[in-house]
């Protein structure tokens, strides 16, 4: 019973928490929206390969907003980065992923 409950809860959690949750961003509104959409698309496309997702995000961002973007995707990591101002996006996605996108040349 407890198992079933917890499973149900988990599914519920996954369902409810499927949206992207921006934790930190100093991007302009338009850029932020675009980057967020991109992250969502990439993470959904490569749901079991974070590396590919990160690669996709990085390449797309390079193309759209100029070179030297960096992307980290993972379920657990710590970081301290130096980024160009107005070029940082840190968001959670799908209830278990953290995505950090920043630009620094």
């Amino acid at each position: 019973m407890a198992d079933a409950d917890s499973k149900k809860e988990e599914a519920d959690y996954k369902r409810v928490h499927s949206f992207p949750l921006i934790r930190q961003s100093d991007m302009p509104e338009e850029m932020r929206m675009e980057a967020m959409e991109l992250c969502v698309t990439a993470c959904e496309k490569y749901s079991n390969n974070n590396e590919s997702a990160a690669k996709m995000i990085k390449e797309a961002m390079d193309k759209k907003f100029g070179s030297s973007w960096h992307v980290v995707i993972g379920e657990g990591f710590g970081f301290e980065i130096t980024h160009e101002v107005k070029n940082l996006l840190y968001l959670y996605f799908g209830g278990s992923l953290a995505v950090c996108v920043w630009k620094c040349s």
């Binding site: 949750l21 990591f77 209830g95």
Partner: protein, 696 residues
């Protein structure tokens, strides 16, 4: 002097041997051949120019002596171009034929005289070389420029000499001189010449470079792990839920705010400053009417203490509007929410002088100008402000229409108005009164008119829908007479009053002086009819505290107080003039005031004096002016009185007029509605008992 080459025709010896001999003899002195020629020519010339030359013939010593015959002998000579001295027998070895061969072609040229001239063609190399030399020397001695011409010749001579001498000068040197020579200069006027060209300083070229700042950077650090992500999501979901709950009302608010903003921006320049101008207007008024405002707030008539029971009315502001100057005040109504604001209806009571009307709203804060002003085609006869929506105002007109004004909407016209097709009254509307909202929560109000109808108006979807409540006839419900004789003479309602608690119960005063007690439930029957007055009932009002008591006034000079359960009045007061309006004070069950057409306000306190007014005071400036209406402010001890000249006067009741009865010492001063009811009840009992005994 020109270059000259001298070539003499060669004498040929081909002709005759004798001749040849002669010639040879002549020719022996080779060098003198020319001389001879000269002589010959001179000889020829002698004949011609004998006069000029007186010369003696010089003869060489060895000259042949010739006879005359010899001399005259002619020798014919043919001159040919052949050199007589040229060898004719030259042979050369011909290697081809391996033999000596004579050469036919012989050099015929003989040079007898040659002189090298010193004239040079100026384009020739030598001339150029000379010039180069000259220029260089000139440079060296510019001071001798004046002698240039002179020297030129000399130099040229020298140069030629030099050039002749130094024919063998090394070519390198010559070239050097030539290269040194400047380009040919244009000759300038040496006496009056000035150079035009000028040279300026050249600006120095300078390199400048700058470096931009690197784009600003920032550091950011965080750590992501599952529990943090989970916590963030849970928090966010909770926030979203909260936001959803709030969203509905907030969205509406936003909309209204946006609308407001839009409205504000839509206005023209004047409306944009309207708010600030209003503030300034208020400030100015506050300064002008400062003393009045002080009186209103703080002045208490000290003389009341010595007058025992009587009181006075202190005039405060006078409200007047230029456009409503000649229009009688036909209605007064305080705003239930804003205690400083009251509405004034302007029209005319004179049947013959019906003109336009005016609806004004004044604030005590600004006595000089109305807050709102609406012009109407027909005179306004009555007004009422909705209790729950203090910005909605109902008005009745002389032409029988009723209308609703919304003060929030900036329009100069009524928002809703009845029309002849929607059951408007056919006679003046004497009173309107808002009712509680109906079952569907629609706004509705009642109106009474002298066409005998009491109509309920309901605002449904921006339309006024009417329902007849009662149609009155003079005789009420008389059915005794035969139907043919029955004249449907309508009863003219002039005022009504609704019971505070019993929603259905209301009183209607008529033109013929009767007061009908009616119920909304029965449209054709009156619950009771009071033969109250002999003339038009001008006003009926229920007592604000005691639910059974109402007061009525009439043009027959009387004010009567009734218990609606009794047929006869409890009190009757004769005021010696037609009574225009009567009103209960909101603070006491026993105090009421009435205005009479002789320009006076009568204030009664039954608790103090059951028979006479405790204050009778003229409130109009001119004798002819008749006060028409009066109204108590619901909070402050003031009344407003309107007159038929369009003026509204605000008066303050002196302490005696609003005095609470002094209780015996030691007892608490009682207050509250219950006490007010008891107070009036006690009075009623005093009056009733004898009368009750009589009826019994």
């Amino acid at each position: 002097m020109s270059q000259r080459k001298f070539s003499k025709p060669r004498q040929s010896t081909v002709l005759g041997p004798g001749q040849g001999l002669k010639i040879s003899s002549q020719k022996v002195p080779k060098g003198s051949s020319k001389k001879k020629d000269d002589d010959e020519s001179t000889e020829i010339g002698e004949g011609l120019d004998e006069w000029a030359q007186n010369k003696v013939l010089l003869k060489p010593t060895d000259q042949l002596e010739l006879t005359e015959a010899d001399l005259k002998e002619e020798f014919t000579r043919v001159l040919t171009a052949n050199n007589p001295h040229a060898p004719q027998n030259i042979v050369r070895y011909n290697f081809k034929e391996r033999a000596y061969k004579p050469i036919s072609m012989v050099e015929q040229l003989a040079v007898h005289f040659s002189l090298e001239g010193h004239m040079l063609h100026k384009d020739s190399d030598e001339a150029r070389r000379q010039r180069a030399r000259v220029d260089s020397t000139e440079e060296i001695v510019p001071a001798e420029s004046s002698l240039v011409e002179f020297e030129d010749a000399e130099e040229q001579m020298e140069a030629t000499d030099e050039s002749l001498k130094t024919d063998s000068v090394e070519p390198a040197e010559v070239i050097e001189i030539a290269s040194k020579g400047k380009k040919e200069q244009k000759l300038t006027n040496q006496f009056n010449f000035s150079e035009r060209a000028s040279q300026t300083y050249n600006n120095l070229n300078r390199d400048r470079a700058s470096q931009t700042k690197a784009p600003p950077r920032a550091t950011f650090s965080d750590s992501a792990n599952q529990w943090e992500i989970y916590d963030a999501y849970v928090k966010e979901v909770q926030l979203q839920e909260k936001a959803k709950e709030k969203q509905k009302p907030s969205a509406k608010k936003e909309e209204t705010i946006q609308k407001k903003i839009a409205l504000e921006y839509q206005g023209d320049d004047i409306t944009r400053v309207s708010k600030s101008s209003k503030i300034v207007e208020r400030m100015v008024n506050q300064n002008i009417y400062d003393d009045v405002a002080q009186d209103f707030k703080y002045f208490e008539d000290l003389s009341d203490d010595f007058r025992d029971q009587e009181g006075t009315l202190l005039p405060l502001w006078k409200f007047q509007y230029e456009k409503a100057k000649r229009l009688a005040v036909t209605a007064l109504c305080w705003n239930p929410r804003y205690n400083d604001l009251f509405a004034v209806g302007h029209g005319s009571y004179d049947f013959l002088k019906q003109t336009r009307g005016m609806l004004l709203l004044y604030s005590m804060k600004n006595p000089s100008f109305p807050e709102f002003a609406f012009s109407t085609d027909s005179g306004i006869m009555c007004l009422d402000i909705h209790h729950e929506h203090p910005y909605i105002l109902a008005a009745g007109f002389y032409d029988g229409n009723v209308a609703i004004y919304n003060l929030k909407k900036p329009s100069s016209q009524a928002n809703y108005k009845s029309a002849s097709s929607t059951g408007k009254h056919t006679d003046p509307v004497w009173q309107v009164r808002w009712q509680k909202n109906d079952m569907d929560n629609n706004l509705n109000f009642y109106s009474v008119s002298s066409d005998g109808r009491v109509v309920s108006w309901t605002l449904i979807k921006n339309e006024l829908v009417y329902t007849d409540i009662i149609r009155m006839t003079v005789e009420g419900t008389t059915s005794d007479k035969p139907e043919a004789l029955q004249l449907h003479v309508i009863g003219c309602g002039t005022s009504f009053a609704f019971h505070k608690q019993k929603d259905h119960l209301f009183l209607v005063g008529t033109e013929e002086g009767k007061i009908h007690k009616c119920s909304k439930a029965y449209s054709s029957h009156f619950l009771e009819t009071f033969n109250a007055h002999n003339m038009t009932v001008d006003a009926i009002r229920w007592n604000p505290f005691h639910l059974k008591i109402f007061i009525s006034c009439s043009s027959d000079w009387t004010v009567k107080i009734w218990d609606h359960t009794f047929n006869t009045p409890v009190f009757t007061f004769d005021l010696n003039a037609a009574v225009g309006d009567v009103a209960w004070a909101p603070y006491s069950s026993t105090v009421f005031a009435a205005v009479t057409t002789d320009g006076k306000v009568h204030v009664f306190d039954l608790n103090i004096n059951k028979y006479e007014a405790i204050c009778i005071q003229a409130v109009v400036a001119k004798k002819k002016t008749k006060p028409t209406h009066l109204e108590f402010n619901p909070i402050y001890p003031i009344i407003v009185v309107g007159d038929d000249r369009g003026q509204v006067t605000c008066l303050k009741l002196s302490p005696n007029l609003r005095k609470l009865p002094k209780e015996k010492k030691g007892q608490e001063v009682q207050k509250g509605p219950a006490y007010e009811i008891a107070k009036l009840e006690r009075l009623l009992n005093l009056v009733r008992e004898p009368s009750g005994a009589e009826t019994k």
